[in-house]
Assembly symmetry: C2
Homo-oligomer: 386 residues x 2
């Protein structure tokens, strides 16, 4: 039994349902951010982030900073690329547009490589683009929360290393870290930025990043100083290194209670092999996608290989919009999200299936949601005479 | 009785002790950041921020953003001043140096007006400086956490309005909001930036700002776009306006659990007149400062009128350093902070007395701390043969 008050099950692509222990760990009594107790918690948390990314290379560095996932874009844009340098932005939905805007805010030239809605740029197009001009970095949205499109970051990284080996491979893993396979060292990735509130299962409020040795070196060889202050790697790098070595350090007060929550959830996640966790998410995803097909519905992510395992973006039947279906789901105790991709937002809904809702064998969230979707759709069609 | 596990009392100048109800409100079940329940909580929280600042002018705008207090500097530096424009930074300790660095990161020219340690620039010096060149903004650290020096922001604002009426008055209120008097509208202040974890009594992780109509107009008349993305007022202003009107809105996922905690603590704070709260802090401060004087100790803040009411920075007797005294305090169940001002950090300690430790009549934190300080000092002197 959960200690949480009765509530509808939150199955949007983040924030997600919380495990009781994670929630309760935020009720820790007040601590000094530089006292031994908290320093130990924070230091261990950073080491757990390495495990989350299956990384053992000491040249790589995890960061946990107070802020939303969006802050990770500023950290990339103001530290790893300089004014007038080029960024190649692979576009699979809403979030690439925003990342490109962020890069341009700090003076980079962002070139977007766009795919039709529900698809992703091909490896050939990526290779071609990389050969056209020197790119300081390439960004890939691992799972675009607006479309449910999954990118193959491993193969993109291979293409980059072959064609343009110095280009930094930057992964926006906000909706993928904790549920999609990421082998940070082995796949030779330079940055993964993410947030706490999706498959990691922590409340929102933490910007989490992993930087490779190559990324840190790129930062250190900048010709100009970092173009932000709060997002400056120069300010945060010594802090993270110190805490991980259990030495107190101060740049800005860390969000102590959220760090406790992150420590708890990462301890749970890394207590089992990451491969097992990815497999559980893939199985749950398969169940959802099979049920969606059985309802005669199509996914926004059009091909099997580009469908995320943590969420499903579902086209509604012609004549139905999200407000026709979401209240029927809520009535049945389930919360899905409306569409987010501006061009088609009124035509689809999003079902998030990650974290405790799929990993906790005592929960029946997914079955309940599939049943609710079937009933709510049928009710909505009847109401509209479809 | 507190529901919190037994622990030493945290009496540093932030984070501070938590009220049980504030801590427990973070254990709220997961919510969508755009669903009616959370939208109401966030909207009400923003209105409560207005009450905290005693502001009723609809042209002013509160902001609550995921981040530490430091993020507020970036928001000022990247939105309210442009490259090559001048900022006058009043220096009363460590934090002015950092704010100046932040302003310069985004291209402003920061001129620091410094006072000797423990003092503050005189009103005559401020007036003189304002006459020397046009300043886009002036920054004042209301209470410098490194020295315990209190600035008279009301009188500084009067000088600015008289001598250079267009200059924005920017107050760093990280260690003052919730314990030192601030009448945002009446004193004609343009920005107060603060954090959640000091006298507001919320866990760390929220950057809280109040911008005047003049500040918003200054932002809107920029010649260049904001020079950051996550800190951009252009990105956050519509979000805050929408939530306050109970309309869901998305730029970055808000830190839902911390917003609940802020809602709880601001509801508690604003349930009583703010004047009463300031008076309680002033009384507690008086008790601490009298006890410090009775122990024959001097304060870093040298004059009565520039001594903060939320903390006391105490010079240690000649021959003693913080590591000689802090363990003796901890042994007696009390945590103070070491010095922070680089030039003199080894010569003083800091005692924070704010929030529930002074406002909750059931707590004896201050008496316990005063007794512990007396004993720990005497023990330390004996050990050193002083």
């Amino acid at each position: 039994m959960s200690s949480q008050a009765p509530h509808p099950t939150l199955l949007i692509p983040g924030p997600i349902e919380f495990d009781d222990a994670v929630l309760q760990s935020m009720a820790h009594y007040a601590e000094s951010h530089v006292a031994p107790g908290f320093v130990k918690t924070f230091g261990e948390t950073l080491s757990l982030v390495r495990k989350l990314f299956q990384s053992t290379n000491p040249a790589a560095q995890p960061f946990v900073i107070s802020g939303s996932g969006t802050l990770g874009w500023d950290i990339v844009a103001s530290n790893l690329i300089e004014k007038g340098e080029n960024a190649l932005v692979l576009h699979t939905g809403y979030f690439a547009d925003s990342f490109a805007t962020c890069l341009e805010t700090y003076g980079a030239n962002a070139t977007q490589l766009k795919a039709p809605i529900g698809e992703r740029p091909s490896f050939e197009e990526i290779e071609q683009a990389l050969k056209e001009k020197p790119y300081k970095l390439i960004t890939i949205t691992h799972v675009d929360t607006s479309t449910g499109v999954l990118s193959d970051i491993r193969r993109v990284a291979e293409v980059v290393r072959r064609v343009s080996p110095e280009t930094l491979v930057v992964v926006d893993g906000v909706c993928s870290v904790g549920c999609e396979e990421i082998a940070f060292d082995e796949w030779d990735i330079d940055v993964v930025l993410t947030a706490s509130q999706k498959a990691i299962g922590c409340p929102p409020g933490l910007s989490i990043l992993m930087l490779s040795g190559r990324a840190i070196d790129t930062f250190k060889s900048r010709k100009t100083p970092p173009s932000s202050y709060y997002s400056s790697v120069a300010n945060w790098l010594p802090i993270m290194q110190n805490y991980e070595n259990f030495k107190p350090s101060y740049f800005a007060t860390p969000p102590t209670q959220l760090v406790h929550a992150l420590h708890t959830t990462l301890s749970q996640i890394t207590a089992r092999p990451m491969a097992e966790r990815f497999a559980i998410h893939a199985q749950a995803s398969e169940r959802v996608k099979t049920a969606v097909a059985e309802l005669g519905l199509e996914q926004v992510a059009s091909k099997r290989e580009n469908q995320a395992h943590a969420m499903t973006a579902i086209w509604l039947p012609e004549g139905l919009a999200p407000p026709d279906v979401l209240p029927g789901l809520l009535k049945r105790g389930v919360i899905f999200a409306a569409g987010l991709h501006k061009q088609v937002a009124t035509k689809y809904i999003r079902f998030g299936h990650m974290g405790v809702s799929v990993t906790d064998p005592n929960r029946t969230d997914i079955d309940k949601a599939i049943a609710a979707l079937k009933e709510a759709l049928s009710e909505a069609k009847q109401a509209k005479g479809i």
